[in-house]
């Protein structure tokens, strides 16, 4: 059965995600943290979790609640569960941030909030996994994007499990002395989260959205299947062997870890090659701005993997690891996220504002809700800033890094304003290419950030 439900809470996910993203960047600009700061520093822990939970997790979950039904053609387990998930993740995150201050000694009495907040975040994530798992489990046949998102969710479980262990050990180190070495697995935690969860999921969703928006063939054939299998195998090997090597650093386990790293590199290379095919085989000649900007994000992914390979070859991987994380978070995942929001937000806005008028009178197009000329400078500033900041991070220049991050933060706010304008249809009827019919006014002057299911149909 084909069902087409809008995810009513997705816009609120996006709003909170952007607020958290700006908050994390404010910490960077204030000098509280930067990529080479000690991972154990409270400012670093707060900024990292604002980025990966507050920004990326909310962004990806909000997008999945909208697009898993598109991928599977089945509805979510529950619309209401998405709201509970949102409240739990954001509320739990705030608790965790306070808990980090406690663990760092800034406010010791708040240390208990770290595992407690982590537990609440975990509850929210568990709800999300169930909510998304319902359509993913029922879908037949299982499409490549659906299988990749499912694999990503499995890595999300692994990431959360590791995170809970870290939080418990950090909050009460004396209670679990045998588990204390797990803190040496921060790299594996990051690999499971940024790689297995976010990257495989982003790859899977992109396999649906890129062909859909560019009118390219959706069937990725054997190459797409290899991306999934090699990527999943690589991340699994790297995480498991990396963790095992903490307690048992014998040659065979270290070699397995390296094999996993190689498989990850191969999967990314295959994926980028396949993305190139999608762009090349597209029927829609002109590339829309969001997909043009996404090319930069794919480039950041390629640069990150190349940098990792070079650093590993000269035994400098640990030294560049913070820069790699920065490139992945801001360049690849963040870059892809802000690019796709430029399409998703006006699309949702169109459905909410004009969907009910279709067939009853003139309506604008989705592209009439955005103004590329206004957004393009922000995208350029973001990508140039991230590029310069990455170079500064590799060269261990904290002041240069903060200077480079200034346009990134300004661009993020500028883009958030553009998303806001799209949501409120500020540009409707004013686009140069808009047909005369586009002059029609919106049905809802001030829609709330949730989608009113009372609207037709």
């Amino acid at each position: 059965m084909i069902t087409n439900r809008l995810s009513r809470w997705t816009p609120l996910f996006f709003l909170l995600a952007l607020v958290n993203f700006v908050g994390a960047q404010a910490l960077v600009l204030a000098g509280v943290t930067w990529p080479a700061t000690s991972l154990g520093a409270a400012g670093t822990l707060i900024a990292i979790h604002l980025l990966v939970i507050g920004w990326l997790l909310l962004l990806v979950l909000g997008a999945l609640f909208q697009f898993v039904p598109v991928i599977t053609t089945l509805p979510l387990g529950s619309q209401a569960a998405a709201l509970v998930c949102l409240v739990a993740v954001e509320g739990g995150l705030l608790g965790m941030l306070a808990g980090f201050l406690g663990v760092a000694g800034v406010a010791p009495r708040l240390a208990w909030l770290l595992p407690a907040g982590g537990g609440v975040v975990t509850t929210g994530i568990s709800i999300a996994i169930w909510n998304l798992g319902v359509p993913l489990a029922r879908a037949r046949p299982r499409s490549l994007p659906g299988r990749m998102v499912t694999t990503g969710l499995a890595f999300l479980v692994a990431t959360v499990t590791l995170g809970l262990l870290f939080g418990s050990v950090l909050a009460a180190p004396a209670a679990m002395p045998g588990l204390a070495p797990i803190l040496g697995g921060v790299g594996e935690h990051a690999l499971a989260g940024l790689g297995g969860w976010f990257t495989l999921t982003a790859m899977g969703v992109s396999y649906k959205l890129l062909p859909m928006f560019m009118l390219a063939p959706e069937d990725r054939g054997a190459l797409g299947r290899w991306v999934h299998v090699v990527g999943a195998t690589g991340f699994t090997l790297a995480v498991l062997a990396g963790l095992a090597a903490i307690w048992l650093p014998i040659a065979v386990i270290v070699d397995l870890r390296r094999a996993g790293d190689l498989a990850i590199g191969l999967a990314v290379a295959l994926y980028l090659w396949d993305v190139r095919r999608i762009y090349r085989d597209r029927k829609r000649v002109s590339i829309e701005l969001h997909n043009g900007v996404a090319i930069g994000a794919f480039a950041f992914l390629g640069v990150a993997v190349a940098l990792a390979a070079i650093a590993a070859a000269v035994h400098r991987l640990d030294a560049v690891a913070p820069s790699l994380v920065f490139l992945i978070v801001f360049g690849w995942l963040g870059g892809l996220g802000i690019a796709q929001l430029y399409k998703i937000v006006p699309f949702l806005a169109w459905l909410v504002r004009y969907g009910g008028r279709l067939g009853r009178g003139p309506v604008p197009r989705v592209q009439d809700l955005v103004r590329d000329g206004a957004a393009l400078p922000w995208f350029i500033a973001y990508q140039v800033g991230v590029s310069c900041a990455a170079i500064a991070a590799v060269m261990h220049r904290p002041v240069a890094f903060r200077i480079a991050m200034t346009p990134v933060a300004i661009a993020t706010i500028g883009l958030a304003v553009e998303y806001w304008r799209a949501w409120h249809a500020t540009y409707a009827g004013t686009a140069p290419n808009a047909p005369p019919a586009a002059a029609a006014g919106p049905v809802t002057k001030h829609p709330s950030l949730l989608i009113n299911r009372g609207d037709r149909p």
């Binding site: 959706e218 969907g355 009853r360 197009r365 009439d368 037709r456 149909p457």
Partner: protein, 105 residues
């Protein structure tokens, strides 16, 4: 019959050009989303598809099609069926639409 002259296929097709696919920004007729149209004594049976299964705009498109056709005088009944076979491809676009998107005819 309701006493009015039932619209013919051309009239219905013309009316459906008022309904656009919001993402592509083009009318559903020239996009090739209308697969079949039958009219008999004011009873209209329409078979159509979407650009992709699971399209979030599907419900709105269906409602838009129904609303637009029911506005035509002489329509006494309307059945709209959405099918996925054969799947839609850009090659189903009209020459006009292909030109708009730069797709070779």
């Amino acid at each position: 019959m309701n006493g009015l002259v039932a619209p013919d296929a051309d009239a219905i097709t013309d009316a459906l050009r008022d309904v656009i696919d919001p993402e592509l920004g083009y009318n559903i007729v020239d996009l090739g989303l209308i697969y079949a149209l039958a009219i008999e004594d004011g009873r209209v049976a329409l078979t159509m598809t979407m650009t992709t299964p699971g399209c979030p705009a599907q419900d709105y498109l269906l409602a838009g099609v129904e609303d637009r056709i029911r506005q035509l005088p002489g329509v006494v009944d309307l059945q709209v069926e959405v099918v996925w076979e054969p799947p839609w491809t850009p090659q189903r676009m009209s020459p006009l639409a292909k030109a708009q998107f730069g797709i070779p005819d």
